[in-house]
């Protein structure tokens, strides 16, 4: 299992830097927002956490089609499905590797973007923490979308359409918890715990559904 994780990570960081593309896209989204809403620093500070969350959400959706596509192209997907290990576990590890390569860099880049958007340090910290808990859920739910569209040559946009409605709860509770940390009367713990629950739940549902899909498409 660690061997698989190492292999996946090696591929993710080697081939064209999928991680870097995600962060660049994140940067592009963050830069575009002030042009749309104006350079008012107070306004930006208020909606900053939301911008960061939306940017990270879109950036994590962007790379999802690579989750299984590469394995399918070189034929190793069949091997992965055939192997004696538990398929959902294998998929969970693939998701972990994918998240380490694409999700984690987004979180590491967040403080920089937070400064650009005039988000106060507490807010940036809260965004990082909620992203740390929330983005794995996006990857895990996205694995279903990736598995379902794996036979399509250009499934990326379709994955986004299919997955976006399903990750709305993650966005809602991520933002709510962030705002809870910044503004005093709003609760932080409750939405944050629900966010954790969502991630754990997707950790079961995502790999199971993706495994069912991949196994079916193999026979």
């Amino acid at each position: 299992m660690t061997a698989l994780l190492k292999r996946e990570l090696a591929i993710a960081f080697r081939a064209g830097g999928g991680a870097l593309t995600g962060v660049l896209f994140f940067l592009a989204v963050v830069v575009v927002f002030p042009f749309a809403v104006g350079p008012d620093m107070n306004l930006l500070a208020r909606i900053g956490p939301a911008i960061l969350w939306i940017g990270a959400l879109l950036a994590s959706l962007l790379g999802l089609d690579r989750l299984f596509a590469q394995d399918r192209e070189d034929g190793s997907l069949d091997l992965i499905v055939m192997q004696p290990h538990l398929l959902p576990l294998t998929i969970a590890i693939k998701c972990l590797a994918h998240w380490l390569a694409t999700g984690l860099p987004l979180i590491l880049a967040t403080p920089l973007f937070g400064i650009m958007l005039n988000v106060e340090p507490v807010g940036t910290g809260a965004v990082m923490l909620t992203l740390l808990v929330g983005t794995p859920a996006i990857t895990l739910i996205g694995a279903v979308g990736a598995a379902v569209t794996v036979t399509l040559p250009r499934g990326g946009l379709l994955i986004a359409i299919l997955v976006l409605p399903l990750v709305i709860p993650v966005l809602v509770f991520g933002i709510t918890a962030t705002n809870g940390a910044i503004y005093d009367p709003d609760p932080f713990t409750a939405p944050f715990l629900i966010l954790c629950a969502l991630t754990l739940f997707s950790g079961v549902l995502g790999p199971l559904a993706a495994a069912a899909m991949l196994r079916h498409s193999a026979d």
């Binding site: 279903v144 979308g145 598995a147 569209t149 036979t151 709510t176």
Partner: protein, 257 residues
Amino acid sequence: MTRQSAEISQPAGFWAWLASLANPTRFMGIADRVIPWLAALSVALLVAGLYMCFTAPEDYQQGATVLIMFIHVPAAWLAMMCYSVMSISALGTLVWRHPLSDVSLRAAAPIGAAFTFISLVTGSLWGKPMWGTYWVWDARLTSVLVLFIIYLGIMALARAIEEPAQAAKSLAVITLVGFVNIPIIKFSVDWWNTLHQPASVSRFGRPAMDAAFLYPLLVMALAYTLIFFTLHLMNMRSEILKRRIRVMKLKAAEGVR
């Protein structure tokens, strides 16, 4: 014809009957006979329901706009029922591998999207005089909007995948994942709504419904349901023909080669 009906009435029970429907030709035969009756019944109920709607008294609070409720509430109800039908079909594809369940799922998706659309449009037309705006980010409206996007996503997926067996499984998996997620989405939207909702909207929450409105609403709901099943059967019939055409064209291509 007589042979078919004899087979259906065998004492083997409902499940055997359901399994016997696996034969598309037999299904087509049954559908051809059932559809005219179902269509006639739904039109009759619709006429009766509309008559009851327009003779119902005006609501003391909503005024004549209660007329919109009679077509809005059943549509919203069907939007959810259709997704349940699709989810059962998805189970049929994945668990029992019933060949008609994929036909049923595909045939239901556009109908569900249409009823969701109706419920959104009539809802916002009701909201304008009642709430003062066509659209509010109210928990119910937002959840239905998300459901609409899910329907459209499923339809887009159905169109995108060419290979039938692959498409069937993809649609079934994504439909079921959506089904599991819908309560969570509803919950999160409710949560989000209680934090952000200006209190003005909630005061329009309707009290227990008077019988004068309940009966027209029930008849309309029944009419809508029958319309749904009529259209669903019709679309399933059409979907089976599409598959036959595909097989025939493949055969023709082989013959040329």
